[in-house]
Amino acid sequence: MEMFLTLLSLLDSTVRLATPLLLAALAGFYSERAGVVDIGLEGKMLVAAFAAAATAALHGSAWLGLGAGILASVILALLHGFACITHKGNQVVSGVALNIVALGLTAVLGNAWFEMGGRTPNLPADARFGEITLPLAEALRGVPLLGPLYFELISGHNILVYLALAIVPLTWWIAYRTRFGLRLRAVGENPAAVDTAGISVTKLRYQAVLIAGLLCGIAGAYLSTAQGAGFQTNMTAGKGFLALAALILGKWKPVPTLFACLLFAFADALQTRLQGVALPGIGEVPVQLIEALPYLLTVLLLAGFVGKATPPKASGRPYVKDR
């Protein structure tokens, strides 16, 4: 029973840690499947986390914060689109630029507005997304195995966690069962064909980039107003790149991406618990190795040593009509 509860709490943290990764990775899904490489997930999450925390601190509403976070992230996404779609700039360079701008701007504005060394004030409970206890969770808690499972793991998360999990099947449905999804995937594989069919490549790619902005906005708001209680300089700390790694490990498909996110989050949750613990037969596993594991896995996968991940064919290439 003790073991079971430990496992449950480990899985519970896994779900919490996976949520921002999942939202950002799905953002990357839309953008990259439409042929626009998105190195800028990190920056979009960061501006959203800042805007959400700042707004929630000033107005006391987590929902207003979420709105502000999405707005900030979408503005950055539009800039990315302006550079890469309208002006056919290099998508990677644009992503790098926006990440750096986001890092600098949030630190400068945070420091100027709140004078707390780049942090925003600690949010009170009612300015954050609180935990939701699902119906009957308390009542069923006594039921062996399933009771604690329902109470600890499934119930007791904030609304954004459930939203993120719901977006996975929604994304699958949009991408594989709607006309928009078909066009989206087509524009990432063969934009010329889409263009020939009389559909605007530019418009589709902008739509994809906007959805990416929206999802990164939710991811950022989650970090600062649901998981955390305020913003700190560089609080994303590489989560955007981890999400990118998850998207690649998930081979640019929504459901496998969910599992990649859960895997990375599990490693993260495990790492805090394994600190200084010697495993039987293995000895003490260096925390840093677990930390580096997602990145090592991604490298091995991309190199084809562990399975094979093939990116959308036209990703990274701006579409030029007369070629």
């Binding site: 550079a83 990677v92 790098v96 630029a97 926006l98 701008v101 400068v108 990145y295 090592l296």
Partner: protein, 376 residues
């Protein structure tokens, strides 16, 4: 990726001088807007930055010291660019390169600096080259994308360094993860001391002998890219891999070698930071200078002659940013990071926005341009 060289007949000074000046002006305008938005006086703040960077001997020393590191990381980005590769991994390569510098310096107790320097340069270059050659090899032979792999390698480098510093290289009986200090005899000479030796008085700053090494690297990179067979193979591969293949060049080998050279240059940052200034191995010494190298390279049009002034500009921004914080407590030094990002945006991602405008401007009066050689 295009290295920026166009076929649209712009005069060299338009691409080499006018475009960068337009980019910097726009970046400064954006930062002025940011300063204005947080309720401070943009003109006064930018003036303070300028004075902080070049107003005092000490300021100039610091500016040149930052520029030294930036020259290394920008050359790393530039050489990869010419080979058609975007190396975002400069930060990680500098980190691992620094490990090489540190290990060499720790292994040679008591050596004089001039004897240790070639070996520490070799150590830094070799470690940096190794860390960059793996993504290069993976791109060339296994088809994985260099951008993603180098990003992942930055994170792996960081984890690896934390592990090594905390568990292996830490000076015993100490809390903070730093190695033993190198022997005093091998500290690189400080510029102020060298100048004092020939009778010139100079304010003390971290500026050290590495500056000469950086300038030497500029000449070396220039000669290599434009005046050797290897450099030709590198540029040919960058321009068109298939054409290079038909010319008898093996693009895959060139990619690995290009990345190794790029990583070697980034690795030399450790010579300036560790062998020159910190005199020990520590965590996080690249401090983002590897990423700033991208901005410097883009601004300098990937040419050493452009990289030197661009590195000076960014060195001045770093140093000026430090001074700014004293006079304007509401402005933090991350303002420099914003400027850096905006420069990458304008000079890199939006290069196609300004260039056609310039081309139109110049093609409007072809008669003038054509009549010039005749009149001369």
């Amino acid at each position: 990726m295009s290295a920026g060289a166009g076929s649209d007949n712009l005069p060299w000074w338009a691409t080499g001088l006018l475009l960068p000046v337009v980019n910097v002006t726009l970046a400064l305008l954006v930062s002025a807007l940011v300063i204005f938005a947080i309720g401070e006086d943009p003109v006064g703040a930018l003036g303070t930055m300028l004075r902080g960077a070049v107003g005092t001997g000490e300021g100039i020393g610091y500016t040149l010291y930052y520029a030294t590191s930036l020259i290394f990381t920008a050359l790393a980005v530039a050489i990869a660019f010419h080979g058609g590769l975007f190396n975002i991994g400069g930060e990680g390569q500098a980190y691992i390169g620094g490990l090489g510098v540190g290990l060499v310096c720790l292994a040679l107790p008591g050596w004089p600096w001039w004897a240790a320097l070639p070996l520490s340069v070799l150590g830094g270059a070799a470690f940096g080259a190794f860390w960059a050659a793996i993504p290069g090899w993976l791109q060339a032979y296994r088809g994985s994308h260099i951008v993603i792999t180098t990003i992942m390698f930055n994170f792996i480098a960081s984890s690896l360094m934390v592990y090594l510093m905390v568990n292996v290289l830490i000076k015993p009986g100490q809390m903070s993860p730093e190695s033993e200090t190198f022997s005093t005899s091998m500290f690189l000479p400080m510029m102020a001391d060298m100048m004092a030796g020939i009778g010139i008085e100079m304010a003390s700053s971290p500026l050290n002998f590495s500056l000469f090494l950086a300038l030497l690297a500029c000449v070396g990179v220039w000669a290599f890219i434009w005046h050797t067979r290897w450099g030709f193979a590198l540029r040919a591969t960058g321009a068109n891999e298939n054409a290079a293949l038909y010319a008898g060049i093996d693009p895959r080998r060139v990619i690995v070698i290009t990345m190794a050279l790029s990583g070697a240059l980034a690795g030399l940052l450790g010579v300036n930071e560790l062998h020159g200034v910190q005199h020990r191995l520590m965590l996080n010494f690249p401090a983002g200078l590897g990423f700033t190298g991208i901005a410097v390279a883009l601004m300098g049009r990937n040419h050493p002659a452009g990289i030197i002034p661009a590195a000076l500009l960014f060195g001045a921004l770093y140093q000026g940013g430090t001074e700014l914080v004293f006079d304007y407590p509401t402005i933090s030094r991350e303002l420099v990071v914003v400027i850096q990002g905006v420069v990458i945006l304008f000079a890199g991602a939006l290069e196609h926005m300004f260039r056609p405008a310039l081309v139109r401007l110049f093609s409007r009066r072809p008669a003038v341009a054509a009549s010039k050689p005749a009149g001369a």
